[in-house]
């Protein structure tokens, strides 16, 4: 694709609300998916002839299935509170990137075809026909939303643009206008088991290589088991962790923590993907389809715990949706045979699913891990709250735990930690700019512009506090930052996994024979170790 020329935004001292520049991000949107990628998901490839009727019908269907869509379409009063909250608006100044204006692309059509006022007085209430121009705007601007939900935090009615954007993408898919990036990846995830299309032998090789490498580097036989039936923990992690930088250093970190804990764990070749792009395209069925692979893997491998690696929207799907979609969770009613089949197998002493950060944090709290924090002394670290973790999940079962736990883990392994400006972290965190199915080269302009607010906050702590490391717990954030950091004159290698920091500092002093021991013996050893830790 002939890359469009665009300016990389300057990093201001403070984020200013830009003057509106209408249509500056107008365009054809990301590459469209052809038959090959559309049909396996049950969507037509290319705009169908009667697309308008199909689209209106789908809108009606969605708003009758999702209360969020119906209520959000009716409730907006156009107060303007959200207008300066979207990182894509702040970075691009295109008014259609203001959350309410983005929603209005959908809402104006809803009003035209579904409301009394819009049917009879369209001009008065800003109702618009669904025409070619409108559907082009949908495709373009609903792929400039990373579904990060920052606007929803600031909306007096909690209106969530992500819900509207998901609905719009589902309508687009239904009429044949799918996004190539997401739908191609979903095809691989639903047939091969991961977004990379890495088949079982390749995955096994990769993991064996990793074992060799880690043993060479750290002198400990850290294992990365695959498809081991009867393991205690099934780890579901984004497939980027298997090969991408800096992700893989995070995977090494998980392996070391498991090794040091002496727990038995496994990956699954059938469900070798944490990321669930079904959420991005808004399709409940496809999202469920991807989630069901994890259920099947958990049942087949007879694990008692399901754990999730560092991935933002994967954790949202796991934490908030898995129990609903596939029964991976707890608290099913006694008549719910479907969920109980799995939940009776899972160990209710642990949260199901559990985040790797929750697991490591818990081990640290119980004194089971020892660190040499000086290993990270050349680093001054700040933490980027990934949008889906921050705004749609929890950790540790305490209020704000999703903010507290990762920071506590970092502080346990690093001496130098600084937070970025308060209005850019925690529930108000700025998206990295590449989430929600936007992590593709054909959307590079919006990715770079959308990264500006995060980069600005990072610049501040770099200047003021000497921050040289940006830690994150999301595969998309890590990939996106690797790409955009140099555009803003940062070191691309400053982005790390939280478990990379853990990996650097953790002391591997687990006696080798412990790994061979049966589980009961391991627990006995644990108890002794715990006592030792207490006496220390």
């Amino acid at each position: 694709m002939a890359a469009k020329e665009f300016d990389i935004p300057e990093l201001p001292t403070y984020i200013e609300i830009p003057e509106l520049t209408p249509d500056v991000m107008q365009g054809e949107g990301p590459f469209k998916a052809v038959d090959e990628f559309q049909n396996p998901l049950g969507f037509p490839g290319g705009k169908v002839d009667n697309w308008k009727e199909v689209a209106i019908e789908k809108m009606g269907d969605l708003k009758s299935k999702y209360r969020s869509v119906q209520v959000f379409l009716d409730s907006c009063v156009k107060c303007g509170a959200c207008t300066d909250k979207c990182h894509y608006f702040l970075g691009s100044s295109d008014p259609k990137n203001m959350p309410v204006a983005r929603q209005d692309l959908f809402r104006s059509v809803y009003r035209r075809y579904f409301t009394f006022a819009g049917k009879h007085f369209p001009k008065l209430v800003g109702a618009k026909d669904l025409d070619d121009e409108m559907i082009d705007d949908w495709y373009n601007y609903f792929h400039q939303c990373s579904q990060c939900r920052r606007c929803s935090v600031f909306c007096p009615y909690g209106i969530d643009t992500a819900e509207i954007s998901m609905a719009a993408r589902e309508v687009l898919d239904t009429i044949g206008l799918g996004q190539k990036y997401c739908n191609q990846i979903l095809g691989k995830a639903l047939t091969i088991g991961n977004n990379l299309g890495l088949p079982e032998p390749a995955l096994r090789d990769t993991l064996l290589d990793l074992e060799e490498e880690v043993e060479e580097d750290f002198g400990a036989p850290v294992k990365f088991p695959l498809d081991i039936k009867g393991s205690e923990i099934l780890l579901i992690t984004p497939s980027a962790d298997f090969f991408a930088e800096p992700h893989i250093d995070g995977l090494i970190g998980y392996g070391k923590v498991f090794y040091q804990d002496g727990v038995s764990w496994t990956l699954s070749s059938y469900a070798s993907e944490g990321a669930n792009f079904g959420m991005f395209i808004g399709s409940y069925d496809i999202m469920r389809k991807a989630a069901l692979r994890i259920r099947k893997a958990a049942l087949d491998l007879e694990v008692s715990r399901v754990m999730v690696g560092e991935c933002g929207h994967a954790w949202r799907v796991a934490y908030s949706f898995w129990n609903t979609l596939s029964g991976v969770g707890a608290g099913a009613q006694s008549v719910d045979e479907y969920a109980l089949k799995l939940q009776n197998q899972l160990d209710d002493r642990y949260p199901q699913p559990q985040h790797i950060i929750e697991y490591t944090y818990d081990l640290i709290q119980r004194g089971k891990l020892n660190f040499d924090k000086s290993e990270n002394d050349e680093r001054t670290v700040t933490f980027h709250d990934s949008c889906n973790v921050a705004r749609a999940t929890n950790m540790g079962g305490i209020e704000g735990g999703q903010f507290i736990l990762p920071r506590e883990v970092i502080k346990a392994v690093c001496n130098n930690y600084v937070d970025m400006e308060r209005s850019t972290i925690k529930e108000a965190t700025f998206c990295c700019g590449g989430g929600g199915g936007l992590l593709t080269d054909d959307l590079m302009e919006i990715r770079i512009k959308g990264a500006m607010p995060r980069m600005q906050a990072l610049k501040q702590v770099e200047t003021n506090d000497g921050v040289n490391t940006l830690a994150a717990i999301c595969a998309i954030c890590k990939s996106q930052f690797s790409k955009v950091l140099p555009k803003f004159d940062f070191d691309p290698y400053m982005i790390v996994s939280v478990h990379q920091l853990v990996s650097a500092a953790i002391i591997l002093d687990k006696p080798q024979e412990a790994i061979q021991m049966s589980e009961s013996q391991t627990e006995a050893t644990d108890a002794i170790e715990a006592k030792e830790a207490e006496t220390e």
């Binding site: 969020s68 209520v71 107060c79 509170a81 800003g126 908030s320 608290g331």
Partner: protein
């Protein structure tokens, strides 16, 4: 009864009918539409009590709006709070006969009209002068504010200037509407305009953005408890799919289980 009184009496019942039926249908629609997924928005409440308190804070204090934009919050709060007090004070007209003594206490609420008007004027000014908000405004957004301002100003004129209306007559008319004992109403232009626009407002309630009033209580991001891991949440249509093992993609990607 005068013709104008008959017209207004009829308008009152028509508007009220549209309001009740329209709102009833809309609330029913919100109520029966399933919520397939847990989507609470941070900062999320972990308990049912927490969720209730969050909703109370949102409805009474506009907590999210306060975090978001202090000016919109200030004007929005002045308007809504002023309106609430003014509405409470208007109850006197609809209660037949002597008023309970508590109404002496709400007498000073008449000054709330100014809070209401100032809030509305501020919101209108922002809509006109802030380019971002002007961009997202449709004609109806301005009209709604103008209508409320005219209602507020015409009411204030009757209360605070010498253009008083015969409030005993108003009371007889208004309480008559409640107990079906219809009488004439005063015919000063201020009063008729005030009443007419209130009736219009009532009638357009179910078909306009005023739906934010019931909407907020149904907003899943605000009213859900963040307990997805502890309690299984499945909507009616999703449960049906699960039971019937609907597999739309079986040719390409294998079956459930």
């Amino acid at each position: 009864m005068s013709l104008i009184s008959i017209i207004f009496t009829a308008l009152f019942y028509i508007s009220l009918f549209i309001f009740i039926v329209g709102m009833g249908r809309k609330i029913r629609q919100f109520w029966i539409t399933p919520v397939p997924l847990k989507i609470p928005i941070a900062p999320t409440p972990l308990t049912q009590t927490g969720a209730i308190f969050k909703m109370i804070r949102e409805v009474t204090l506009f907590e999210s709006l306060f975090r978001s934009n202090k000016w919109i919050w200030l004007f929005g709060f002045l308007f809504h709070f002023g309106l609430l007090l003014v509405l409470v004070r208007h109850l006197r007209y609809f209660i037949p006969g002597d008023l309970p003594e508590v109404f002496l206490l709400i007498q000073p609420f008449k000054y709330a009209a100014f809070a209401m008007i100032i809030g509305l004027a501020g919101l209108l000014a922002r809509r006109i002068f802030v380019p971002r908000i002007r961009y997202i405004s449709a004609p109806s957004d301005y009209l709604m504010l103008l209508m409320l301002i005219v209602i507020g100003v015409s009411g204030a004129i009757m209360t605070f200037t010498s253009n008083h209306t015969d409030i005993m007559m108003v009371k007889a008319f208004a309480s008559g509407l409640i107990i079906f004992d219809w009488t004439n109403l005063p015919t000063e232009i201020n009063f008729l305009l005030h009443l007419f626009l209130v009736l219009v407002l009532l009638a357009i309630f179910p078909i306009s953005k005023l739906l934010h009033v019931p909407g907020i209580f149904f907003s899943p991001t605000l009213n859900q408890v963040d307990n997805a891991r502890k309690k299984r949440h499945v909507s009616s249509w999703a449960l049906k799919q699960e039971k019937e093992n609907t597999v739309k993609l079986e040719q390409t990607i294998g079956k459930d289980e």
